[in-house]
Symmetry: D2
Subunit: 185 residues, 4 copies
């Protein structure tokens, strides 16, 4: 019933142990597969907000965005390091849930420059990671994310995400730095 | 060349992304398989010290024990929480390399009760884990370890090990609590 | 408002930056002080179960023990590596909440050898750590714990604890190996 | 000599325990102070490369940059997620040491767009963190970094850094995403 590893340096006739049968293992580490799934979920969520806006207007888009933020980001546990693609000074960094929501759907007078990034007709999201680092329950990816709108126009951004696997096993974004490509050359 | 994850909520004809091709992943986490291998290596090493003692005497056993301690324990990085099976007050806890070596091979006047646990004719070691916890680069096991000597006599101990995977990828014992079964009932 | 670190390698007259004012820091790591407090809480809880047994009988002691286990151990998140001092084969390892409760208060026919360790008149608990390891949200201590009963009789055990700080900030015991001192010498 | 925590729920006259005297603690966690020092060191290093270029030419600047990369980044342990401020496709992400060096000092035909970012007369670096996350031996900061050149011209970037404390206790940059502020509004 228990795992059994045998180590016989010479001839005592011990039966070979089972590799590791039925031993409970509690593992809090994040896996590469979980990270890839969370990236895909982020893309699906962005498209969903855009579609909900078109089908149900601002109120529905906002409700969806709130659900997305609460499910996919880590604001309920503290500040999130979020630098959205199109955010600028003096509100570049959106460390609070309110700032993230304003960025995604706009309509908040406290964030007057926000016009609602998620409302812009997005239809597809493609992630191309350049590398990934895994460390305990934390994983960071860096790469390009390409988003396509309903006219077929593609926008490419440079994006860094850190996902943290919480105690319930759910991955949450705790770092998100997105920027337009450098165009000076 | 890059990993490509696509998320198309509806009909845009994006080709399906490759799952995660050729993206470098740096992962510092420990795995269950690594832990099982390290447990087996500990057993092999105990038997090797015993055999080297019989074949080459104290000097050879001591040299082997030093190599084992330096390879398998974490003393070079700080204190190790080591409570050997047969150690007692006032030298119960062997947080230093010297204390561990004295326990395994004896011969150190500073540890007068140590007669050399590893010299006692061991021939086989069997590990039966009851459960395992994995957390980042740390894993802890608890279970029974049965060691058999050359006469076939078996000794069972209750043992807890914590292994830490260092930056070079090597597992090192940083906690080792071993005790004889409670015999009071 | 923001932390400001300045680095002027030569004469530009930059004002000295504030060290780190008002920058939110989310830190999931465990601290030595938290570990010491959790050890003390364990001792207080053991005494409380004993006193509740004397004042309120088995039912009250059991209720207190359940509250203690639910607050101080990590069973709700998975197996706990618990080898109680007086537990023996075939029920040495108490990886489930039921096994822990049986050990502390007895009265469970499924654990016929358990007479209720926490009911034995304990009045004081003293912890003497030999060393501590801290790694992320995990900390392990090894040392002696001395428990004194109402007659003044002292029992010393060798004890290893691993505490894990959960996402809510609470420390939980995930490894607990306790053994009577080796008496063979 | 040992730490001593006492827990007396009622009147047994136990002396108050010492808080935690002389118990060795091995702690692999990163601290906020270490992160702030590593940020300052990065700024000092950037200025040093610029000054060495002016005083000693390309060869000296390159040697300094190599020393800086080897000391401050984690390339010797695997890929680093580095998106420099002015890097663009198809060489946006500098996951190798060679790519980082090319960015800082240029002169590598394999990276034809790189003109040597660190050679541009920098004199001062100021870091203004918006928030920090600490998780085991990993810490991430996000905020603005302002660099001033010898003419007094200031450049502000949005920057995310993840520092990893290695087994030797040294902090190394494993994630570095730097971008010019969004200027579209």
């Amino acid at each position: 019933m228990r795992a059994s590893i045998k180590s016989a340096a010479f001839g005592l006739a011990l039966v070979a142990g089972l590799a590791h049968a039925n031993v409970p293992v509690a593992n809090s580490n994040i896996t590469e597969a979980e990270v890839l799934a969370a990236q895909k979920a982020w893309g699906d969520a962005l498209v969903k907000i855009a579609l909900d806006y078109e089908a149900g207007g601002f109120a529905r888009a906002k409700a969806t965005a709130e659900a997305v933020i609460d499910a996919a980001y880590g604001y309920q546990a503290g500040p999130v390091l979020f630098k959205p693609t199109l955010a600028a000074a003096p509100q570049t960094f959106r460390t609070t849930r309110e700032g993230a929501l304003a960025y995604f759907v706009g309509g908040n007078p406290a964030f007057p420059k926000d016009s609602g990034f998620a409302l812009k007709g997005w239809r597809a999201v493609e992630v191309a990671n350049s590398a990934m680092l895994i460390n305990g329950n934390i994983a960071t990816t860096m790469g390009n994310v390409t988003i396509t709108d309903k006219s077929g126009k593609r926008t490419v951004v440079d994006k860094t995400w850190t996902f943290r696997k919480d105690d319930s096993g759910k991955l949450r974004i705790v770092v998100h730095h997105s920027s337009l490509p450098y165009a000076g050359q």
